[in-house]
C-alpha cells in the first residue's frame, strides 16, 4: 500500500474541500472495497477522506418514496422493519451479498461505487488492463473470461459489474442523490453507471468531490411482488455468475407492469426491457415465460469461456419471474 494522508472532516463543507484538494483523493466509508484495492496498489490515493461523520444513515419514507442514506450499512438496511414486505428484492439482494461481517461494514454508497472483481484488474502484476491504464489492452478478452460479461462489453473491456444491490435497485427504478460543493442533483442509477466503450476507466457519471448522499426508490406497486435470485459457484459469500431481479405489478392475475434487471452478466447492471414487454398484459405461465425468454439473449456477446451464462441466465430469470409472480 502506498502512503497516504488521512483526514476526518467534521462538516459536509470541509468534506468537499478535502475531496477536491487533490485529484487522487478518495472517500472512505466502510473501506471494504477501497482498502483492498489500495493494498493491491490498484488505488493509490494520496489522501483518504473519512466521510462517516456525515449524517446520511437514515432509511425513511418520504414524499418521493423510500430514501436510503448512502452511509447506511448494508446489514442495517436489510434489517429495516417492513422492508422485506415492501421491497423484497432489495432485502434479498443485500443478504445475498458478501458475508455478514462485510455487510456490517459496507455502506450503500460504497457498494454502488465498488469496482470490478476482474482478476486482471486487481492483480498488480498485470499491466494489460484498460481500466488501470489508458490503452494498455485487455488481458481478459483473450484470456480467462469465464466470469466476465456478455452484455455491454467493448473491445476495450469485458469486466462484470459486481454489485447485487445495484441490480435490485435498477429493477426498482432507483435514482441517486448526488451532493457536492455545487449543491445537489439526481441521476437515474441506469444512467449513473457507464458502459466501458472506449473509456473503461470512467465508470460513473460523477465529478471529483461529488458524493452519493442517498438512494431514492419511487413509491409504486412494483416493490411488493419482487424477488432476487443469485446463482454462484458456491452457496454463499461469492459473487454472482448470474443473478436476476424481478419486480412485478400484478393485477387480476395479469402482469400490469414489470421491471427486470440482471447481474453477473453485464459491464453494468443490465435491464431487459424486451423481456418486460413480453410479459405485460399476460398471466405468468410456462408458455408465456418460454416466449419471454426468447428475448433474453438479444445483444449478448459471449466470450470463449462464458457462453454458459446465456442459458444459465434464461433459467435463472424464468425461475425468478415465476417466484415473484407466485407471491400472494
Amino acid at each position: 500500500m502506498y502512503p497516504f494522508r488521512f483526514q476526518r472532516p467534521l462538516s459536509e463543507t470541509e468534506t468537499y474541500t478535502a475531496l477536491t484538494s487533490s485529484p487522487t483523493a478518495r472517500a472512505i466509508a466502510g473501506g471494504t472495497t477501497l482498502v483492498d484495492l489500495m493494498r493491491d496498489t490498484v488505488e493509490r490515493p494520496d489522501l483518504v477522506v473519512d466521510i462517516n461523520p456525515l449524517p446520511w444513515r437514515a432509511v425513511e419514507t418520504t414524499g418521493r418514496g423510500l430514501r436510503i442514506g448512502a452511509l447506511a450499512r448494508m446489514s442495517d438496511v436489510a434489517a429495516t422493519p417492513g422492508l422485506a414486505a415492501s421491497h423484497r428484492v432489495l432485502v434479498e439482494a443485500l443478504l445475498a451479498s458478501a458475508a455478514p461481517q462485510i455487510r456490517n461494514m459496507a455502506s450503500i454508497g460504497g457498494n454502488l461505487m465498488q469496482r470490478t472483481r476482474c482478476p486482471y484488474f486487481r492483480d498488480p502484476a498485470v499491466s494489460q488492463c484498460n481500466k488501470k491504464t489508458h490503452n494498455a489492452g485487455c488481458a481478459a478478452i483473450g484470456g480467462y473470461n469465464r466470469e466476465h460479461a456478455i452484455f455491454g462489453t467493448s473491445d476495450q473491456c469485458v469486466a462484470t459489474h459486481p454489485s447485487d444491490l445495484a441490480v435490485a435497485l435498477l429493477a426498482l427504478d432507483a435514482q441517486l442523490v448526488l451532493r457536492s460543493r455545487n449543491g445537489e442533483r439526481r441521476s437515474m442509477l441506469e444512467e449513473f453507471m457507464l458502459l466501458p466503450g472506449g473509456t473503461p476507466m470512467r465508470e460513473h457519471d460523477i465529478i471529483p468531490g461529488e458524493l452519493i448522499a442517498a438512494v431514492e426508490i419511487p413509491a409504486n406497486a412494483l416493490g411488493r411482488q419482487s424477488r432476487y435470485i443469485k446463482i454462484r459457484d458456491r452457496g454463499s459469500f461469492e459473487f454472482a455468475l448470474v443473478s436476476a431481479a424481478v419486480a412485478l405489478d400484478m393485477r387480476g392475475g395479469t402482469v400490469h407492469g414489470a421491471r427486470i434487471a440482471v447481474g453477473g452478466v453485464g459491464t453494468k447492471p443490465w435491464r431487459l426491457r424486451q423481456v418486460e414487454s413480453a410479459l405485460v398484459g399476460f398471466p405468468i405461465n410456462e408458455d408465456r415465460l418460454n416466449l419471454a425468454m426468447n428475448h433474453v439473449a438479444i445483444g449478448a456477446k459471449p466470450l470463449a469461456e462464458n457462453g454458459f451464462k446465456v442459458e444459465l441466465l434464461k433459467r435463472t430469470l424464468k425461475r425468478t419471474i415465476h417466484e415473484a409472480g407466485a407471491i400472494a
Binding site: 497516504f4 473501506g31 493494498r39 455478514p100 456490517n104 461494514m105 454463499s236
Partner: protein
C-alpha cells in the same frame, strides 16, 4: 515450559524467519534467534513474552488513533495505512486475532467493533478511531472461565489447526447475538464469511448451535 506460549515456541524454533514473509512488520520486529536462543528458548521466553514488538518508523502522515480494546483505552499515533488487524497484533501485542488472507475473503481477522462483527483486515485503524473493539482475548471472564462459545468449540472439537478459530468464535458470538443461529442452515449461511481450510464445519455448526441453545 509453563511460561512458553505457542508464539514463543514458534519464534524459538526458528519459524519466525518464515513467518516474517507473511507479516510485513515481522522482519523488523523479530530478530532471528541465535543458536544459543534456540537451545535455551524456554529460559528466554519469559522476558521476551512481556516485550511488545518495537513500533515501525513513524510515518510523516501519522494520525492519532484512540481505541478501547477489551475495555482498555489506547491512545496511539499510527501510519494511516495501519489496518485494525495490524494495530491489534503489532502495536498492542494482541495476536489472538489472525491474519489469514488480508483481503476480506476468509474471516480469520473477525473482531467486534461497537458490538458488530467486522473484518479487521479491511478496517483502517484511523476509521475505527473512537470505537470499542472486542477481540478473542476479551471474551473469557475475569477469572479465565471460557466464554460459552469458546467452551462449545472445545466440547464439539470444532477445530483442527486452530488458525481460523478466533475468527470463528468472534463471528459465532455475534451470529448468536444477532439471532441467526436458530437452525443448522441458518448458521451455515450466517457463518459463511468464516472459512475453515481444515473443514471442521460440521463441528463448528454444532458448537454454535449448542452455545446458542444454552444462551
Amino acid at each position: 515450559m509453563d511460561d512458553v506460549t505457542r508464539r514463543h515456541f514458534l519464534h524459538g524454533t526458528g519459524i519466525a524467519g518464515s513467518m516474517s514473509l507473511l507479516d510485513p512488520l515481522g522482519g523488523q520486529a523479530l530478530a532471528k534467534p541465535s543458536a544459543h536462543a534456540l537451545l535455551h528458548a524456554p529460559a528466554l521466553a519469559p522476558a521476551h513474552a512481556k516485550t511488545a514488538p518495537p513500533p515501525p518508523p513513524p510515518s510523516p502522515f501519522a494520525v492519532p488513533v484512540s481505541l478501547t480494546v477489551n475495555g482498555q483505552k489506547h491512545d496511539l499515533v499510527l501510519d494511516p495505512r495501519s489496518s485494525l488487524l495490524d494495530t491489534l497484533r503489532e502495536h498492542l501485542g494482541l495476536t489472538g486475532t489472525k491474519k489469514g488472507c488480508d483481503q476480506g475473503a476468509c474471516g480469520a481477522c473477525t473482531v467486534l467493533v461497537d458490538g458488530r462483527r467486522v473484518l479487521s483486515c479491511l478496517t483502517l485503524a484511523a476509521v475505527a478511531s473512537g470505537s470499542d473493539v472486542e477481540t478473542i482475548e476479551g471474551v473469557a471472564d475475569a477469572h479465565g472461565k471460557l466464554h460459552p462459545v469458546q467452551q462449545a468449540f472445545v466440547d464439539h472439537d470444532a477445530f483442527q489447526c486452530g488458525y481460523c478459530t478466533p475468527g470463528q468464535i468472534m463471528s459465532g458470538i455475534a451470529c448468536i447475538h444477532e439471532g441467526h443461529a436458530g437452525t443448522d442452515e441458518e448458521v451455515k449461511e450466517w457463518m459463511s464469511g468464516n472459512l475453515c481450510r481444515c473443514g471442521a464445519y460440521v463441528n463448528i455448526v454444532a458448537a454454535i448451535r449448542d452455545a446458542s441453545a444454552k444462551s
